[in-house]
């Protein structure tokens, strides 16, 4: 609903009404206070993790000893953390790129074309999200074992592409559905080649959707522990490193890297929301 509509509804409230009619309620202060409290509780572990990245360094990072920038200044001090972090970033980028390409193609086909087995395809896309990660993990693990593939970086990337595809399809499909095919028709009418239509019209218009999908994919891949555990061999990703280290002590640098990724992601999401808001305002102005 647009702002104008909301404003119109707001005015509707002021018109005189029969006496005993109950007031239409959109929620009250109780719901507002409750929601703010829930949001704050959701933030507690995030704030905890960031705060403990500023702890005074010692053998363990489980008790608060005071504020210091030491861990941030010595961010590369623990070689294993750095290696695991770099590995996860690489896996995330490659898996996201591949999943975005495969998923976008499916999304376009789903919106634009008629084909048989549509229901079958919908189920095939739904199932990976409806399967517990531990089942997907042990399944891929046994498959690689049965066909004799050595587990490592490649098998992790293969697994991550798989569970990202469905999320890409859902996210990009909404964007394709909002795209007016007449714009592409116009391009074809003006003798643009299929490649030109794709790169100069379709792709730029789908880009916001693809970016959202890529962000989501990267977040899923970067943070995946359960599936990765079954297909990683001896490769250490950031989550598997934390899981193993949790038995002894997790170096504060792990908190630093996690905080860096978190803050970067928040900056990107905020920027995306602001661009979307600006776009909405522009559209509202142009639309009168």
């Amino acid at each position: 609903m647009s702002l104008q509509e909301a404003a119109v509804l707001g005015r509707v409230d002021e018109t005189p009404r029969p006496l005993k009619r109950p007031k239409a309620r959109r929620g009250n202060w109780g719901v507002a206070v409750y929601s703010v409290v829930i949001l704050l509780i959701l933030l507690i572990p995030i704030i905890y993790t960031i705060v403990f990245s500023f702890n005074v360094p010692a053998r363990t990072n489980s008790t608060w000893r005071g504020f210091s920038f030491d861990n941030w200044l010595n961010i590369f001090a623990d070689q294993r953390v750095v290696a695991a972090f770099v590995t996860s970033i690489g896996i995330g980028l490659l898996a996201t790129l591949a999943a975005a390409a495969l998923g976008t193609a499916i999304a376009i086909a789903l919106v634009r074309f008629r084909f048989r087995f549509r229901t079958g395809l919908t189920i095939l896309l739904f199932l990976p999200m409806a399967t517990p990660e531990v089942v997907i993990g042990s399944g891929l693990g046994s498959q690689f074992l049965n066909i004799g593939v050595d587990k490592g970086l490649a098998t992790i990337i293969i697994a991550h592409i798989m569970f990202c595809i469905s999320f890409v399809v859902i996210t990009v499909r909404a964007r394709v559905a909002s795209l007016d095919p007449a714009i592409e028709e116009a391009g074809r009418d003006l003798y643009a080649s299929p490649a030109q239509v794709w790169w100069r019209i379709t792709f730029p218009l789908l880009l916001p959707g693809i970016v959202s999908a890529a962000l989501l994919s990267f977040a899923l891949s970067f943070d995946d522990f359960i599936i990765t555990a079954f297909v990683r061999g001896s490769t250490e990703t950031f989550p598997t490193y934390i899981y193993t280290a949790a038995v002894r002590a997790i170096p504060a640098q792990a908190n630093v890297f996690a905080s860096v990724i978190f803050l970067l992601a928040i900056v990107v999401v905020v920027a995306q929301q602001l661009t979307a808001a600006a776009r909405r305002r522009r559209l509202a102005r142009e639309g009168g």
Partner: protein
């Protein structure tokens, strides 16, 4: 499923006539083949593995030969049925709590904040913020906060709610708490997406027809947000049933709170009993798909995606 919250669609949907074309084949083929090889084939592989028998000729840990040993299923069901039951219990509790907590939150963001787009965007970012912080570190943060020497236990002991020797970590309460916390965004986002589209004139109409707010909620708001509730319930219940991080002794659980995921990973990694772990995975998958199928049938939500 209602993942619209991620997609930032701000222009109206244009329903274009769908064409038949060979292009569709080339668009679909790579992704479908990929999912076939990396999702469907592993399921087949799980079934094959679940029927394997120990290699009696060259006996070794983790060595199994192709067979048709249905006994693996009988063994895991007989041995682990209490744990399977417990997993479904914990997941069901976490789903109910996540729904009760998320609905008012999603309503507040989707309806209450509608006149304040900036606050609405901020609240949404706060809901998805946990996705960007390591799930394991967040769970360990709760472990520290609820530790025996931590603030929560001390506070509850001060109020005499907890005994001086009582723990929170390692109890079923903590596992359900952890699962609920972890999956709240997965519940809140789809419900928000449904409520965000809710036409407020329906609520006005309810009031015009002398329905009190409660009646309007039960007969108008809730039914209209049902698709979001269905998506959210599935997105929480399914992963929660298979989760093994929250219930593991290294995190919020103890050996007394083991869930089926803990057993699958234990039999796989520690015992290297791949047939047992595969049989349990198949059992879990079937046991999840049955209630999910019934639930989808009852709620009549055919639009899965």
């Amino acid at each position: 499923m209602a993942f619209g919250a991620f997609s930032n669609v701000d222009t109206p949907v244009v329903e274009a006539p769908r064409r038949r074309s060979r292009a569709a084949l080339w668009l679909l083929l790579p992704g479908v083949v990929y999912l076939g090889a990396t999702y469907l084939a592993p399921l087949v592989s799980l079934i094959v593995t679940s029927l394997k028998a120990p290699d009696l000729v060259n006996f070794d840990i983790g060595r199994y030969v192709y067979a048709f040993d249905i006994g693996n299923y009988a063994t895991v069901l007989g041995q682990y049925w209490p744990i399977i039951l417990r997993s479904f219990g914990y997941a069901a509790l976490a789903t109910v709590f996540a729904l009760l907590i998320s609905y008012p939150l999603a309503y507040f963001i989707g309806v209450g904040l509608r006149k304040y787009p900036l606050w609405q965007a901020l609240a949404l970012i706060l809901v998805i913020a946990p996705f960007f912080m390591s799930f394991l570190l967040r769970t360990l943060a709760w472990k520290a906060i609820f530790a025996d020497e931590g603030p929560v236990v001390h506070f509850l002991q001060g109020l005499n709610i907890l005994g001086s020797n009582a723990h929170l970590n390692g109890t079923p309460f903590m596992v359900v708490f952890g699962l609920t916390y972890n999956f709240i965004p997965f519940m809140a986002l789809p419900i928000y997406t449904s409520l965000e589209r809710l036409d407020l004139r329906y609520l006005e109409a309810g009031a015009d027809l002398y329905a009190n707010p409660a009646a309007t909620f039960w007969r108008v708001t809730l039914p209209l947000s049902l698709p979001g509730v269905v998506s959210g319930t599935l997105l929480v219940f399914i992963p929660a049933t298979g989760d093994y991080v929250n219930a593991s002794p290294q995190f919020l659980g103890s050996t007394q709170t083991a869930m089926v995921g803990n057993v699958i990973s234990d039999t796989y990694f520690n015992l290297q009993n791949y047939p047992a772990s595969a049989a349990l995975s198949i059992v879990l998958m079937v046991l999840i798909l049955i209630p999910v199928g019934i639930y989808l049938g009852l709620t009549k939500t055919e639009d899965l995606l």
